[in-house]
C-alpha cells in the first residue's frame, strides 16, 4: 500500500489551530507508527509554544517615569540655536562696537577740526576788524 507520511505538511502548514481536514488526515494516518509519532510531537510542540505565549508581563507603575528620567532630552530649540551661534554673535557684536567707536572718533575729529577752523576764522576776523578800526581812529586823530 502506498502511504504518504504526514510529516511534510505538519512542518509546513499555515499558522493557526488544527483544522477539521487536518485532524481527519491525522486520523487516517494514525495506523502508521511514524506518522503517529510525528503527530504527537507536533501537537505537543504547538501546545508548549502556546503555553509559552500565555506569559503576560506588563509594565510596572514606575516604568514611564524611570524611562523619562533616563532620557537625556536636548534643550529647547532657542537654547540650542543660541549655544550653536553664540561665538558668532559675540564676534559680530564686538565688530559693531569697534565700528561704532571708530565712527565716533572720526566724528569727534571732524567736529574738532571744524570748530578749530571756525574759531580761527572768528579770531582772524576780529583782528582784521580791530586793525581796521584802529586805522580809522588814527586817521581821525590826525585830522
Amino acid at each position: 500500500m502506498n502511504h504518504q507520511h504526514i510529516t511534510t505538511w505538519l512542518d509546513s502548514r499555515e499558522p493557526g489551530p488544527w483544522t477539521a481536514e487536518e485532524l481527519e488526515a491525522v486520523r487516517q494516518a494514525s495506523g502508521c507508527h511514524e506518522c503517529r509519532r510525528a503527530w504527537e510531537a507536533a501537537q505537543a510542540a504547538r501546545a508548549l509554544l502556546q503555553a509559552r505565549s500565555s506569559v503576560e508581563a506588563g509594565p510596572p507603575a514606575h516604568f514611564a517615569a524611570a524611562l523619562m528620567g533616563s532620557i537625556e532630552f536636548p534643550p529647547p530649540l532657542a537654547v540650542r540655536l543660541w549655544r550653536a551661534n553664540a561665538p558668532f554673535l559675540y564676534a559680530a557684536a564686538a565688530c559693531l562696537a569697534l565700528l561704532a567707536v571708530l565712527e565716533l572718533r572720526e566724528e569727534i575729529a571732524i567736529r574738532t577740526r571744524e570748530y578749530s577752523e571756525a574759531a580761527i576764522d572768528a579770531v582772524s576776523l576780529a583782528v582784521v576788524h580791530d586793525f581796521a578800526m584802529g586805522a580809522n581812529d588814527d586817521d581821525a586823530i590826525n585830522n
Binding site: T7, L10, D11, S12, E14, P15, G16, P17, L23, V26, S30, R36, R37, A38, W39, E40, A41, A42, Q43, A44, A45, R46, A47, L48, L49, Q50, A51, R52, S53, S54, V55, E56, A57, G58, P59, P60, F63, A64, A66, L67, M68, S70, I71, F73, P74, P76, L77
Partner: protein, 204 residues
C-alpha cells in the same frame, strides 16, 4: 466603537507629531500607551526578568529614531518591529543550551509532555502549575534552537502570526520565513519525538 478608535488614532497621531517636535510630555504619553504592548511582545521571547530592561531599550531607540517615523504603517507595528529586532539581538547574545535529553527532565515535565502529546488531546492543563511546567519546558526546548528559529516558531505557532506579518516584523521575505518555519518545526518536532521515545523506553 469605530468612531472611538478613529478618535484614539488621531490622538495618537497628534502625540507622535508633538513628540517628533521634541515635546517630552507627548513622548511620555506614547510610552504610557504602548508600554503594555512592548512588554507583551518581549515577554514572548525573553525571560520575565529581562523584559523591563529590553522595553527601556526599545523606547530609547524609538525616541532616537522618532524623526525617521514617517507614518507609513501604524506606530504600533513600527514599535513592534523595534521590539522584535531587539529581542532577536538579545537572543543572539545568549549562549545556546546543549540538546535536552530525557534524563534532564523531571517526572512532572514528562507528565505534561505526554499529556500534550496524547493524540487529539483537548483538555491540556488541569492545574495552573501544569501550565507553568509547560512554559518552563517550552523555554528549555527553545533555548536549544538558533535565535531565528526560536523567533519564527514562537511567532508562528505560539502566537499564530501570519507569515506575511512575521516577514514584515523581521524584515525577511515570506519565502525565507516559510523555509525557516519548516526547518524549525521539524527540528523541534524531532527533538520531542526523541524525548518521548526515550521516556517510553525508560518506562518499559
Amino acid at each position: 466603537m469605530r468612531c472611538h478608535d478613529e478618535e484614539s488614532d488621531s490622538q495618537i497621531a497628534a502625540e507622535i507629531a508633538k513628540a517628533q517636535r521634541g515635546d517630552h510630555a507627548a513622548f511620555e504619553a506614547l510610552v504610557h500607551h504602548f508600554a503594555p504592548r512592548v512588554f507583551r511582545v518581549a515577554s514572548r521571547f525573553l525571560p520575565t526578568e529581562r523584559v523591563e530592561e529590553l522595553a527601556q531599550e526599545v523606547f530609547l531607540t524609538a525616541y532616537q529614531q522618532l524623526r525617521d517615523y514617517r507614518g507609513q504603517g501604524s506606530f504600533e507595528s513600527w514599535l513592534s518591529r523595534i521590539t522584535v529586532t531587539r529581542c532577536l539581538n538579545a537572543l543572539r547574545a545568549q549562549r545556546r543550551r546543549p540538546e535536552i535529553t530525557a534524563a534532564s527532565l523531571s517526572g512532572e515535565e514528562f507528565d505534561v509532555l505526554e499529556r500534550l502529546a496524547a493524540a487529539f488531546s483537548t483538555q491540556r492543563f488541569d492545574r495552573e502549575e501544569q501550565r507553568h511546567v509547560a512554559r518552563d519546558l517550552a523555554a528549555k526546548l527553545l533555548a536549544t534552537l538558533e535565535p531565528e528559529e526560536r523567533m519564527v516558531l514562537q511567532l508562528l505557532d505560539g502566537e499564530d502570526t501570519p507569515v506575511k506579518e512575521i516577514a514584515a516584523l523581521l524584515g525577511w521575505s515570506e519565502s525565507k520565513v516559510k523555509v525557516q518555519a519548516f526547518r524549525s518545526r521539524r527540528k523541534l518536532r524531532e527533538a520531542l519525538e526523541t524525548l518521548l521515545q526515550q521516556e517510553k523506553v525508560r518506562r518499559q
